[in-house]
Amino acid sequence: MSDMQTPAEQELAQLIVQALNLETVTAEEIKPEAALFGDDLGLDSIDALEMALAISKRYGFQLRSDNEDNKRIFASLRALSAHVEQHRTL
């Protein structure tokens, strides 16, 4: 898989950096396959909430945390972006 962000991933990365006020990383630096939570970016469940809110406003659908696929959806920028592209209404 490519290390380059697709245009959709780029847009989502910008939204994440903006919504979470991330200061230690820029949108371009988020590697598409790197873990969002845990060691790479180190996001936590509060960030997940803020991300969910930003995503619902920008893309017009609500994320669910009780989804069995949740670990997969939030695994990386690439996985989250794929999920967003599949469910967006805006």
Partner: protein, 473 residues
Amino acid sequence: MNDARRARGPPVASMIRESAHRMSSVLETQAVPAPRLPLLGQWQPGARLARHCGRDISQLEYLQDVRALARLLPDRHYAINLCECSYHFLVAFGAVLLRGQTNLLPASRAEAVVAEVQRDWESSHVVDDARVVAAIHQAERGTQADIPLIAGDHIAVIGFTSGSTGQPRPHPKTWAGFVQSTANNVAALRPLVGDAGFSILATVPPQHMYGIEMSVLMPLLAGATLYTRRSLFPADIAASLAELDEPRVLVSTPIHLCVLASSGQRVPATAAVVSATAPLSAELALRVEQALDTVVLEVFGSTETCVIGNRRTATEDSWQLMDQVSLSPQPDGTLVQAPWIAQATLLQDLVECLPGRRFVVRGRHADQIEIAGKRASLADVTRRLLAIEGVRDGVVVQDEGQGRVRRLTAIVVAPEIDQAAILAALRKSLDAAFVPRRIVRVAELPRNALGKLPRQALLECMRSGADAPGSAV
């Protein structure tokens, strides 16, 4: 005999045995044995205790699960209850009590924090989801059951807070104390939920004292039904509430509520929303009340004291002090006394008492911080920063957030190591909420002649310091 008194252990553990002893000597002076109190306060075998994985679990079935797990627990004094699923937590909680053991709740699940508790409490074992699931499979199903009684002076739970010295500080809770404080909590909800049963959905985990009081003790002692599916996002909360019978109570935090109120998500009728763990603004409380057509009850408490007051934040500035609690303002905090606290406890909050058993909070000692319902001491986070090899000097400060979650910033003197190494080391010993979001690298800290760090100088430092990843100074 009480387990906590019998155990041998290191200095930290001895603090707890002292307070356990104090509690028991109070009871002994009354020359009557501590009363034994039921594990389930409103015993009705068929009544619903939880809704778990799409089906109802009765009080009887819960007791069968508890007995199955209790049979399998090793013969130790303490159980570190790490169950993530709230039903599994409930089963482990009950089984631990049934065996005369004590639930230990580390301040966080971070590996190093759990390891510290294991080191300090030799006679302990870990209960996690896998062990509970395995036990439930072996449970014997029948129709006969008698209700287990727990000694009132038995220490049901020891919660931990991170003290400023870095030593986790233990806070023991007796079963009789829980019965008393829960009666107060239920009384506060009754005007909103009526006199019969009610359903609870919690967005907070059961591992800290607020979660225990509102989502574990309510089903056990007040006949409430707990919905066990993890529900964080607005759409989850709405879907989970829809599966519950009315009246519904949502137990949450300002962060979850802010996202919920801002999302435009439609939510089923909710009789009451309970908020704690971080200050709730009157403005947000009002928004939540309007968006959900509900009443928001904010509760005031701590791991040390359990819940001691509440207010309807949308319309009230002052707190109603709960029955049997007394407050004495001190120069450096507030002394809290209640029958369920072993000894008067000094909270960092500065309060002013008003007539009618009400009080207002005027401020807080600056070392204690609270992020997303978790409390920590800045001194402890700083101590962990300084413990990293390559960090020559450093300090951790909380950002001046307006309305946002106030994250931490570390200011460090560490020319030989990069930011990633510092963050990786901190993640091993800190809950994610307390890992600094920004690392400012400086040549030296702005210490004054006394070696102290004036806040103004630190803020200046944060504005001018380099914070590019890995940048050397």
